[in-house]
């Protein structure tokens, strides 16, 4: 059952990923010729730390996209969890990091579960639910903080130190992101729970007929996006050492952009961890390198918009060519 499915999936997806690798390579060479500082240890360190947070969030966004849904509330979840952990840290500076992390995971999972219940049990469309909770959670950040900021000197020492300190020269943020990505790879590629998601996104009624429990699967997906979103919220606030109402504003669109550039279909059923990672890498390289090559950071948004459009148009052309080729060759099932 698995091998023919894989065979069908491997062709175009891995070709697209190879193309993306080539584009990223050209990009890196071009940028480093113009600004050699791009390849310095400090710059690469910033790059993988920023990229780590984006990649782990793009990964959970991909889970939602694979089922044919979307989670627009993840950035607001990050902001709310980040703010709550920051306020707790301000009140109890000596709180152990483990408890902060557990609080972040727990609160994130609860916020995700709200989405999950509305989507899986009440059966509302994911885009409406997460649009609503996005406003709700963002407003809640203001409510819990009273509109104030939590600044660098107000955090407990452990809160800021753990995510940004290093093991083997790499920040803990990166290690955590790597662990999340590895877990995502195993989940999507090698467990029945993960394969179910592709089935649901590919053909919902067929999936139901083969006995996949749709509501449980969806519930799991949105709890997971919340869980990882909560953790990422803590990491984000610790990395930038500030929590305020607009934390990570618009980040949900970056995660969707990374997925789309990586070949994840927003219609559901299609998407690979490698593509998603490459999409995140592409986006983070472009955004981080602009100041180095003397392009005003005000161009960031326009360039990432153009990149998204370029990527989806290229994807759709490839798709159309393949469909045409299949039509010319004749459908294998058609009688000759």
């Amino acid at each position: 059952m698995r091998s023919p499915l894989r065979g069908a999936r491997r062709g175009p997806a891995s070709r697209r990923e190879a193309a993306l690798v080539a584009i990223i390579a050209v990009l890196v060479v071009a940028i480093s010729i113009r600004a050699p500082v791009f390849l310095s240890a400090g710059s690469l360190d910033t790059l993988i730390t920023d990229g780590g947070i984006l990649a782990m969030m793009a990964l959970v966004q991909m889970l939602a996209l694979i089922t044919g849904g979307v989670d627009l509330s993840i950035a607001a979840t990050m902001a709310l969890v980040g703010m709550v952990t920051a306020l707790v840290s301000r009140a109890h500076p000596d709180l152990p990091v483990v408890l902060t992390a557990l609080l972040a995971l727990g609160l994130g999972a609860v916020l995700g579960a709200v989405n999950g219940v509305l989507i899986a049990a009440v059966r509302m469309p994911p885009i409406v639910v997460t649009l609503g909770t996005m406003s709700l959670y963002r407003g809640a950040v203001f409510l819990v903080s009273g509109g104030t900021w939590v600044n660098a000197h107000e955090f407990g020492p452990g809160y800021l130190a753990f995510p940004t300190s290093r093991t083997l020269g790499i920040t803990h943020i990166c290690w955590i992101a790597a662990a999340v990505i590895a877990a995502g790879y195993v989940l999507l590629g090698h467990t029945a729970r993960g394969r179910e998601l592709y089935a649901l996104g590919g053909n919902r009624s067929a999936a139901r007929y083969v006995g996949i429990r749709e509501s449980r699967a969806l519930m799991r997906v949105y709890c997971l996006t919340g869980l990882v979103g909560g953790l990422a919220g803590y990491l984000w606030v610790a990395r930038y050492a500030v929590a305020y109402t607009e934390t990570a504003l618009g980040f949900e669109l970056q995660t969707i952009a990374a997925c789309v550039i990586g070949g994840v279909s927003t219609a559901g059923g299609k998407g690979r961890v490698l593509g998603c990672l490459l999409g995140a890498a592409f986006l983070v390289i472009i955004l981080n390198s602009l100041p180095m090559i003397d392009v005003s950071p005000f161009w960031q948004m326009a360039i990432s918009g153009a990149a998204i459009l370029g990527a989806v148009i290229v994807n759709s052309r490839a798709e159309a060519t393949r469909r045409k080729a299949v039509r010319l060759a004749g459908s294998p099932e058609a009688p000759r």
């Binding site: 009440v122 909770t133 996005m134």
Partner: protein, 315 residues
Amino acid sequence: MTRLWKRWESVLVVLLVAICAVNSVASPYFLDVHNLFDSTAAFTEKAIVALSMTLVIIGRDIDLSVAAIIALCSTAIGWLATLGVGSFGLVAAGLVVGTAAGACNGAIITRFRIQALVVTIGTMSLFRGISYAVLGDTAYTSYPEGFDQLGQGALWGLVPYELLVFAILAIAFTIAVHYTVIGRRLFAYGSNPDAARYSGIAVDAHRFWFFTINGTMSGLAAVLLTSRIGATRPNIATSWELDVIAVVVLGGVSILGGSGSLPGVILAVFVLGMLTFGLGLMNVPGIMMSIVTGLLLIVAIAAPLVIRRIVPRRV
């Protein structure tokens, strides 16, 4: 189906009356004709975009780029104003740029067969990105004499021109959607695009034009907004796309396409508008509105679904 929509609109009417009643009890300033007309300025621009967004959503699409189009048009207007273009030229420029941006969305979506959600996330970054690239952290603040009348002026010093524009457009859109063949085709392909295509409806042409009209309406909103606040910064109208979509969905339009009504959307405009105005009178900070909008959106959609589950179907 029709009965259900009628019921939804009556829910909105009850909600509107209740909100107005609470407001007038809570604040002595609410039931003042001048205040009421003034308060509409805060939501008429969004309401104008909501009219055309309704068509896009009924047709199974979505347009997240409307606020970015407003920013782009407003930037174009501001730039031309510094070159000395007159008021009429500025209005025309806003409409043309908006129409072009909308057509750009429509062309990419229908030509390359890409989901509207993805394309408009891209153009949303692109259009607002252009504003940022042009303006950076500066702003346009000088406009020709009389340009401010559009957004700030009022007929007989009472009825804002903006509200008049919205009223005329609301009637036009209602007629087009509910009483013409174009509207019938929209509902047809919104509920079943394949069937509509096989029955000879040029689905993609309609979708293209509705995205284009959505751009035009965003351009018009940009003209009115720029005239009203008299300044353009690149962050103008940030996250309005969500407010617009929330109004449309609250108005009873299904996000899955194929059903909805313009009177519902128009009622929802006033429900949210009066709610915002009332909360403003009670000195509730603006960001709290996002909690209210979010809750209202979720409850409005969830309630009928939950009720249908609990109350056994009566045929």
